[in-house]
């Protein structure tokens, strides 16, 4: 019991230290926060106003005037942040950034939007796009990392920040071809035997995801 107590004591400061990074209060306090705090203190003077998410976030840089040369990517999932503020720079950059001769450290991000595969480069116009099941690939120079994304959203901001929020994303080498085929067959049979609209929609979604998986693995 003494051992466990000392283990607990040793763990506590580590827990506290790990949790620290997010407890920094930022001086951002834009106007929305101020109006809220004022309104709160007027109506409920006895309690401190609750904090809002803005005070827990790192502020984003403002929109630059010229086309930026790097793209900062945040790729988040409910269970992990795959890429957290990872910067991708394109040093050999020109007015037309795509496909230059010296493609040594070219960066390209391809996202599976509902309108098709969309390429993202630094200086992309601000966009909000919904994702469909498909392959997301990060090209960094010569290395390519591919993930299969189930669905989500991608926000590209004017200050060259890209946020990708996906519900599920797995690296392609973790997918099993046989299971994908089985799933596809299962959902096709479900669609043919579906009666209500809801069942049909669910089966259709299953088919979409599995056929995307299939093409990701084969293509």
């Amino acid at each position: 019991m003494l051992r466990r107590a000392s283990m607990l004591l040793a763990r506590r400061p580590i827990l506290a230290a790990r949790a620290r990074p997010f407890s920094t209060d930022l001086p951002a306090a834009p106007s929305a926060d101020a109006t809220f705090t004022e309104a709160w203190t007027k109506v409920i003077p006895n309690m401190d106003p609750p904090k809002t998410p803005l005070s827990f976030m790192q502020p984003r840089p403002p929109t630059p005037s010229s086309i930026p040369s790097k793209l900062t990517v945040n790729f988040v999932l409910p269970y992990a942040s795959e890429l957290a503020t990872k910067e991708f720079a394109n040093p050999c950059y020109d007015l037309i950034p795509v496909f230059k001769h010296s493609i040594l450290s070219l960066f390209l991000l391809i996202v599976p939007a509902t309108t098709g595969q969309m390429g993202v480069l630094p200086g992309h116009v601000a966009t909000i796009a919904e994702l469909k099941p498909g392959v997301l690939s990060v090209h960094e120079g010569s290395e390519v990392t591919k993930y299969f994304v189930s669905s989500g959203f991608v926000f590209i901001h004017a200050n060259s920040f890209a946020d990708i929020i996906a519900v599920e994303a797995v690296p392609l080498d973790r997918l099993d071809v046989n299971l994908v085929q089985k799933g596809l067959a299962e959902f096709t049979s479900k669609l043919s035997s579906a009666t209500t609209d809801l069942e049909k929609a669910e089966a259709q979604i299953g088919i979409d995801v599995h056929s995307a998986l299939n093409s990701a693995l084969t293509g």
């Binding site: 466990r4 607990l8 763990r11 506590r12 827990l15 506290a16 790990r18 949790a19 620290r20 997010f22 407890s23 834009p30 106007s31 929305a32 926060d33 109006t35 809220f36 309104a39 709160w40 109506v43 409920i44 309690m47 609750p50 904090k51 809002t52 998410p53 803005l54 827990f56 976030m57 984003r60 945040n74 988040v76 999932l77 409910p78 269970y79 992990a80 942040s81 957290a84 939007a113 509902t114 309108t115 969309m118 116009v125 601000a126 966009t127 909000i128 796009a129 919904e130 989500g152 959203f153 926000f155 901001h157 004017a158 920040f161 946020d163 929020i165 519900v167």
Partner: protein
């Protein structure tokens, strides 16, 4: 006359010899001395009551220590999940900003609390903040409804705001928290409740001893468009091109729902972490108090025991000296 005196003596002693347990507990707890009839009429003062009390306090101390260990291990498990989910709501705040002071007609306050008790004051704080938000957003044509997650908030809010409660959801942590479960929950809420703004009230986990009450606001598509048109924080939302879908409104609607489920997921995890942390400190102070109480009772016990030994000795010695001379 002697008989009457004896009878009076008997009546005086009777309540002392009668069943001690219940009456003794009700009387002064610190000095429950009782007289025992030993052999040869020697009287011992009984330490039974103090001993019983010490046993029960010791058991309570053991139980609260065990509960603290359990809470610590649960906290470790859920803390990694929470920290991993913290990246999830940030893109939404970066895009849509955070407007807790948006003036809306239909407010819905989603209060997140725990199902089990013994976790300090975090549930009361959440309920107080929810009631504060209700007050803040009250006015002509404005209404605030509650959606309650967790038994503890339900118990507190049912008492005075019963007519404002839309949905009550309990037993959230029966299975380990995961995104699928929370998104189904979010779906239920969005389907059944009309809203212009959803305000999620929860305790954000800063560290094992500090929990910050937080409010996350999710605005409906109409309000977002209204704010975007009026400029200010969301002014540059129109500059974003919206890809895909038939209309911009459809994508924004999906976006709002996705935002709600992501913020809910993070909020539920943070609240669970805070609950375990608060329980740890509550149980820790409880074991410490039990320890203090045990020390005090031990002193009383020893005093009583020594007093009874002294009384015995005095009686024996005075009896012996009476025989001698």
């Amino acid at each position: 006359m002697a008989m009457a005196a004896l009878r009076r003596e008997g009546r005086r002693l009777a309540p002392l010899i009668s069943p001690r347990t219940i009456t003794a507990v009700r009387s002064s707890p610190l000095y429950p001395t009782l007289e025992d009839e030993g052999p040869l009429g020697v009287r011992h003062i009984s330490t039974q009551v103090v001993r019983n009390r010490m046993k029960s306090v010791k058991n309570i101390q053991k139980i609260t220590k065990a509960m603290k260990m359990v809470a610590a291990s649960k906290l470790r498990a859920i803390q990694t999940k929470t920290e991993n989910s913290r990246g999830l709501w940030q893109p939404f705040t970066a895009l849509l900003g955070d407007l807790p002071s948006a003036d809306v007609k239909k407010n819905v306050v989603v209060t997140i609390s725990s199902d089990k008790g013994l976790c300090g004051g975090i549930n009361s704080t959440s309920v107080k903040i929810s009631k504060g938000l209700h007050k803040l957003n009250s006015g002509p044509e404005k209404e605030t409804k509650y959606v309650i997650l967790g038994e503890k908030a339900k118990a507190q809010l049912v008492r005075d705001s019963k007519k404002d409660i839309e949905l009550i959801i309990t037993e959230l942590q029966k299975n380990p928290l995961n995104y699928t479960q929370v998104s189904v929950l979010a779906d239920e809420i969005l389907k059944n409740v009309e809203y212009d703004a959803l305000r999620i009230v929860f305790n954000k986990f800063q560290s094992v001893v500090s929990f910050v009450p937080t409010v996350s606001t999710v605005l409906s598509t109409e309000i977002v468009e209204r704010e975007a048109e009026s400029g200010g924080k969301l002014g540059d939302l129109d500059s974003y091109e919206v890809e895909g879908g038939e209309t911009k409104g459809e994508i924004l609607q999906n976006l709002a729902e996705f935002q709600f489920s992501c913020t809910m997921f993070n909020a539920v995890l943070e609240n669970a972490c805070s609950e375990q942390g608060a329980r740890m400190s509550a149980m820790d102070s409880s074991s410490r108090n039990a320890g203090d109480m045990l020390d005090r009772l031990t002193l009383t016990y020893n005093r009583t025991r020594q007093a009874s030994i002294t009384t015995e000795l005095i009686e024996i010695i005075s009896g012996a000296s009476a025989l001698e001379g």
